[in-house]
């Protein structure tokens, strides 16, 4: 069950320009959380910003969770000013986790920019629950924006880097790197990043005939399925609706369920 709890900030550090890691003491939430789910953070007390901010779980520890985030606008800018010892209200875990399927032989995580955020916890879950080690494609604009490389290597993952400007790894889109890896039919891709990047990854997976699990983003108000603000258009009906809720029916969807032509 999701809940709302006031959590102490255990650590808060800048990990790349404008990118931060926030570690929160959140035992109840950590206990329930699974990779792919997310939480809604109240950036500061009071009515500004009015809405909570959705953030996925980078890591899920025993008593705490970590969030990896990028300063985008006003809310995340205020968040970046929080310091250790302060508290913050966290609502979660929310949404559906990445499904873990033991039939899959090759797990390839494809993260673009801050879209890498849900994958450290997913890699951990794949390792601990399925006993295999996923491969990771980390893509970013430029070298300094490549996130979590060390984390993945420490877990034993093979890491492929790609940058738009070629400053590190190959100069290519993440989806192309995925294609080059020649994933066999028993492979599965997991992707998260900007919509065009996810769409391209979906297309590649369609070509290759493999399943692609995409973690979508949308503007959210409730984060919890009630406001119908965060919908995307699906190819099927979920709970009798075709406009499906990213927060509740997702954020993780089999990419073939999404009507990508709307993006």
């Amino acid at each position: 069950m999701p809940q709302v709890s006031t959590c102490e900030i255990q650590a808060h550090m800048e990990v790349a320009p404008d990118h931060y890691r926030l570690v929160l003491h959140a035992p109840e939430i950590a206990q329930e959380a699974c990779a792919g789910q997310f939480c809604m953070l109240e950036v500061q007390e009071g009515l500004y910003p009015f809405l909570r901010r959705p953030m996925c779980f980078e890591r899920i520890y025993k008593d705490s969770i970590s969030i990896l985030y990028k300063v985008e606008g006003e809310g995340t800018r205020l968040m970046s000013r929080l310091s250790q010892g302060q508290t913050i209200s966290v609502q979660g875990p929310l949404g559906k986790p990445f499904p873990l399927d033991s039939d899959v032989e090759r797990h390839i995580l494809v993260g673009g920019g801050i879209g890498i955020a849900p994958f450290p916890s997913l890699a951990e879950a794949i390792i601990s629950e399925l006993g295999t080690t996923p491969e990771v494609i980390i893509a970013a604009r430029t070298e300094s924006m490549l996130l979590c490389e060390d984390e993945f290597r420490q877990m034993g993952c093979t890491v492929h880097l790609a940058t738009d400007d070629g400053s590190a790894g190959v100069k290519a889109f993440a989806s192309e790197v995925l294609r080059e890896l020649n994933p066999g039919p028993k492979a599965r891709a997991y992707c998260c990043g900007p919509m065009p990047m996810m769409r391209a990854t979906h297309d590649v997976c369609q070509d290759l005939g493999i399943t692609c699990l995409a973690s979508l983003e949308a503007e959210m108000a409730c984060g919890d399925g009630v406001c119908l603000g965060c919908v995307v258009e699906a190819n099927v009906e979920i709970e009798a609706e075709r406009m499906v809720r990213v927060c509740y029916d997702g954020p993780v969807f089999d990419s073939s369920l999404i009507n990508w032509s709307a993006y």
Binding site: L47, L51, E219, V226, L228, G229, E241
Partner: protein, 307 residues
């Protein structure tokens, strides 16, 4: 424990607190945070005869102390509501205010009748004021039924004729004098009015030079609009005999008390649930605390008791 029970035009509620239509879906999701049957009532998302897909995303913009939405009345339709949603609310023992939306008086009448016959609502709230759908074009300059007193009467009469359940008419703040449609609803037999729906607004992204909502225009809700809502409740309370359900930016008991003192018999928590999913039940608890602290035995004693 103070006595918080109210009777809104024939609808008995154990406390005055319900939720804003469209901010609580059909109850299931928030029931994970608290026992929703402890609310005075649950108001459903607006139900239409056919399922509606709603507007294209983006549908939301955050604004200072509020938000704009242009959901466009996405809902499962009356059929799926009766089949999939109402049973849950009934099993929980909730009092249900069925909010309905249609394109004509006949639609509303039909919806009210079906809810009534199926026992799937204890009162009807007719949404005559959704800013995000434009099926019902009306007089010059007006785009909402609730802006035209004569239409309010026509719609209200049609609904009243179709059901014995208490009928509440939901009004819009996009108007000069909200007391006019409120009086029209009263004359036509409404058992109460609900106000306010959202204020029309636009959010623009200066970087892209585009409106943020796909629909361009959305409805403004949240604490930002609370002073406007309290004023409109007060305006109506001065002239109406039928009760009022007040809403607009209520997030805690103190906010709710503003509406009650201004003349509301019931109060609804809307957008504030989004930031605090148990806000509505916290309002119930807070109203009880308020009464105890002020030695008020029956909360009804305070309705309209602005000094």
């Amino acid at each position: 424990m103070a006595n918080l029970a109210v009777n809104i035009g024939g609808l008995k509620m154990k406390n005055p607190v319900t939720v804003g239509s469209g901010t609580f879906a059909y109850g299931q999701e928030y029931d994970r945070y608290f026992d929703i049957s402890k609310l005075g009532a649950v108001t459903t998302k607006s139900l239409s005869l056919e399922p509606r897909a709603g507007n294209k995303p983006p549908r939301l913009v955050e604004t200072p102390a509020g938000m704009l939405n242009a959901i466009g009345l996405q809902n499962v339709g009356i059929e799926a509501y009766l089949r999939d949603k109402a049973p849950f609310l009934r099993e929980k023992g909730c009092t249900i205010i069925g909010n309905i939306y249609g394109k004509s008086p006949e639609d509303y009448a039909e919806l009210a009748k079906r809810l009534d016959e199926a026992g799937a609502a204890d009162a009807i709230e007719a949404n005559l004021s959704c800013p995000n759908v434009h099926d019902a074009r009306t007089a010059r300059g007006c785009t909402l039924v609730a802006q035209v007193p004569e239409l309010v009467q026509e719609y209200t009469r049609a609904i009243k004729a179709a059901t014995k359940l208490p009928v509440f008419v939901k009004l819009t703040p996009n108007i000069i004098d909200i007391a006019e449609p409120a009086l029209a609803a009263e004359e036509a037999g409404a058992d109460g009015v609900a106000l306010i729906n959202t204020l029309l607004g636009i959010g623009i992204n200066p970087e892209t030079r585009k409106p943020i909502l796909s629909n361009i225009v959305g409805g403004l809700s949240g604490p930002a609009i609370r002073p406007v809502a309290v004023k409109m409740v007060w305006d109506c309370a001065k002239v109406l005999k039928i009760p009022i359900i007040g809403m607009g930016g209520i997030g805690n008991a103190s906010d709710a008390m503003q509406f009650i003192l201004a003349g509301a018999t019931g109060v609804a928590v809307g957008s504030c649930s989004f930031r605090q999913p148990d806000a509505a039940i916290k309002v119930v608890e807070g109203l009880n605390d308020y009464c105890e602290r002020h030695n008020v035995e029956n909360l009804t004693q305070l309705i309209g008791k602005l000094e």
